[in-house]
């Protein structure tokens, strides 16, 4: 994409984007390797490595091939989706606190799936589309409540609206679960994000919509960067701010809906990843988007591997760990002397 400034040395003497991206890519590779080698089970790194080198015993082949492999792939996809969605949402709302989980997007997806299950849908087939639709509706509700236009000036109001809406949807979801214990069984673990036991078929089902969303993202990067300069400047450069926002919100809903549909709501990835990306590459959305792609999976895989090792032979839900990582970052951003507006 011509609009993405890759490779050039950044402003204020930052190291070149390509170099950072390369380093992050290397780290991601290590994380993926760790995700394949480490687990809560008896198959240790040595046996798993033997599998990767083409040998290994039957048990190890199964654990690496059928359990850790899909899990790693899903982690990478979910990480990319959440990281990019976070960066987009923060850019379009010009608010460094915007996070899909805080803005009712994940809660909308979870509520939609609970509703579908309650109405008797079979979970496997409908989940993806329903989750994405719920994410879209949730996002639209919050954004319309605070009126997109005034967001830049008041980041905290957006977060308050999102938190309120999330709480509302959360209680509605609980209500549905109380009504119907059958779907409660199915959904109780689904509403705690996790990569364990998720199916590769679900991943395949969301790939098309993720591809569309990522394509739109690349197309939107340049208008978004212009929008960061202000509404008038963007209009003067020939972009239509209203349409840009609409498309971006749609993309965010697609990304978060897909990620939530596969892995359940995973909090704070969309907050921490763009935060880290900005710290590395500066505020330009065209640069941070590139970094979010390796950073997202890096965080998800790192948290997932940790979740397997902490309480073996059981596992912690991934959502718990990302929240532990993310909450301090949220506090740090809020406590910063001046809330940076994007």
């Amino acid at each position: 994409m011509a609009g993405l400034a890759i490779g050039r040395a950044g402003p204020r003497g930052r190291p070149g984007l390509a170099r950072i991206a390369l380093a992050l890519g290397g780290l991601l590779l290590l994380a993926a390797l760790a995700s394949l080698l480490l687990g809560a089970g008896e198959v240790g790194p040595a046996r798993a490595l033997a599998v990767l080198l083409g040998g290994g015993d039957e048990e190890a082949r199964f654990v690496v091939g059928a359990l850790r492999g899909p899990r790693t792939l899903i982690g990478i996809v979910v990480g990319v989706a959440l990281g990019v969605a976070g960066a987009l949402l923060q850019a379009v709302s010009r608010n460094p606190l915007a996070e899909p989980g805080l803005l009712g997007v994940s809660a909308g997806a979870a509520f939609a799936v609970a509703l579908a299950l309650w109405l008797g849908a079979s979970a496997a087939t409908l989940r993806i589309a329903v989750g994405q639709l719920g994410a879209l509706v949730g996002c639209a509700c919050v954004l319309s409540v605070v009126r997109l236009r005034g967001l830049g000036g008041d980041p905290v109001r957006l977060i308050l609206a999102g938190a309120t809406f999330t709480a509302l949807l959360g209680s509605l979801t609980s209500l549905l679960l109380l009504f119907d214990q059958r779907s409660a069984d199915e959904i109780r673990f689904w509403v705690i994000g996790s990569l364990a036991g998720r199916r590769l078929e679900d991943l395949l089902a969301v790939l098309p919509s993720l591809a569309v969303a990522l394509g739109l993202t690349l197309w939107m990067a340049r208008p978004l960067a212009a929008l960061a300069l202000g509404e008038r400047v963007a209009a003067g450069l020939g972009h239509r701010p209203g349409r840009v926002r609409l498309v971006v919100v749609l993309v965010v809903a697609l990304l978060v809906g897909a990620a939530t549909a596969i892995a359940g709501p995973i909090a704070f990835v969309g907050l921490v990843v763009p935060f880290a990306a900005r710290a590395l590459a500066g505020p330009d959305i065209r640069r941070t988007l590139w970094l979010c792609m390796p950073l997202g999976p890096l965080m998800v895989l790192g948290a997932d591997v940790t979740s397997r090792l902490l309480v073996a032979p059981s596992e912690l839900p991934l959502g718990v760990l990302t929240a532990l990582l993310g909450a301090p970052v949220l506090v740090a951003v809020v406590r910063a002397r001046r809330l940076p507006t994007l």
Partner: protein
């Protein structure tokens, strides 16, 4: 699973037995006085012949029905809107018209609903909190069995206490005795049919199973039927089940038989769902087609002599070739 008429037939036979035992008991101890019971909250005096009984525990409801008494109020089974399915069958036989009013769930009692039943005796769970007890005992004499460390036969002592409170100790005793005979007979039949080996009782979830303790009520019955039940060393001391086990560790579930409990009525559906997990599909018990989907309401929530009979019915149907 098993037909209602099957239960009813069994029930009538047992009732004949218990009536006989009761008659015997009446002859022996015709000097029954206003009874004082030793409960978890000290000595409690209960009425001579209680008439409006509220049971706040599935085991108490079970024991009352086994003694031939239909409570006026009861709590729901875990994860259900009403009493457990196997209880319904007994209610159909005992009192087709009047049903116990639902007065809450075990962990969340509706005290006003209890009060509305104007009970003269309340039978509650061993886990009842002191605060709840203080309130309930102002409504009616409340009988709470002492809490014991988790063990598969705790229910017997509890059922006996409930039986005494109801003035029907002999009936409950007879039901427990009949159960011992029944499980011994089943164990013999299974041994003769060559059914043996080890077993695990689990609740399946997509992220991994929870292994149920070998000290549970149902585990004890599986053991009484001659299978060796284990928890693969995963259940903490005193816990009723493990944390969800990582899918990578499923190979620890190496029992010959796998009892798969769900809170849904659709046990087969749950089994089919579990089968889509490659980690589940390669368990030895699954490969050997030795998975028994069981009703979690009955197997992991209920207890008492009637529940035990229902579980043995299921074991017999599922295991005897």
């Amino acid at each position: 699973m098993f037909s209602a008429s099957h239960i009813v037939r069994r029930w009538t036979r047992r009732r004949a037995l218990t009536l006989f035992a009761a008659a015997l008991c009446l002859v022996l101890s015709s000097t029954a006085e206003a009874r004082t019971l030793d409960t978890a909250h000290g000595e409690v005096e209960v009425p001579e012949s209680p008439e409006r009984i509220v049971t706040l525990y599935e085991g108490a409801l079970d024991a009352a029905l086994a003694a031939g008494i239909v409570p006026v109020g009861a709590v729901t089974t875990r994860g259900g809107d009403g009493v457990a399915g196997y209880i319904e069958a007994h209610l159909d036989a005992l009192s087709p018209d009047a049903r116990p009013a639902i007065v809450g769930v075990v962990r969340e009692l509706n005290l006003e609903a209890v009060l509305a039943q104007r009970p003269d005796l309340i039978l509650a769970a061993p886990q009842l909190s002191a605060e709840q007890y203080a309130l309930l005992s102002r409504i009616a004499p409340t009988v709470v069995p002492a809490t014991r460390p988790l063990a598969a036969d705790n229910w017997q002592a509890e059922a006996r206490l409930y039986g005494e409170a109801l003035g029907r100790a002999a009936e409950v005793e007879a039901a427990i005795a009949e159960l011992a005979t029944r499980s011994a007979a089943l164990a013999e039949a299974l041994a003769a049919a060559g059914v043996n080996g080890s077993a695990n009782l689990i609740r399946w979830m997509p992220q991994g199973p929870m292994v149920m303790s070998a000290q549970l009520f149902a585990s004890g019955l599986i053991e009484a039927a001659g299978l060796e039940i284990g928890d693969a060393g995963l259940v903490r001391e005193g816990g009723s089940h493990s944390d969800p086990l990582s899918l990578e560790n499923l190979s620890r579930l190496d029992g010959d038989w796998l009892f798969l409990a769900t809170l849904n009525a659709e046990g087969q559906e749950a089994l089919d769902a579990a089968r889509t997990s490659p980690a589940f599909a390669r368990l030895p018990a699954v490969q050997a087609e030795r998975v028994v989907p069981v009703d979690g309401q009955l197997w992991t929530s209920a207890n008492g002599p009637l529940a035990a009979q229902a579980i043995l019915d299921h074991l017999e149907a599922a295991l005897l070739p």
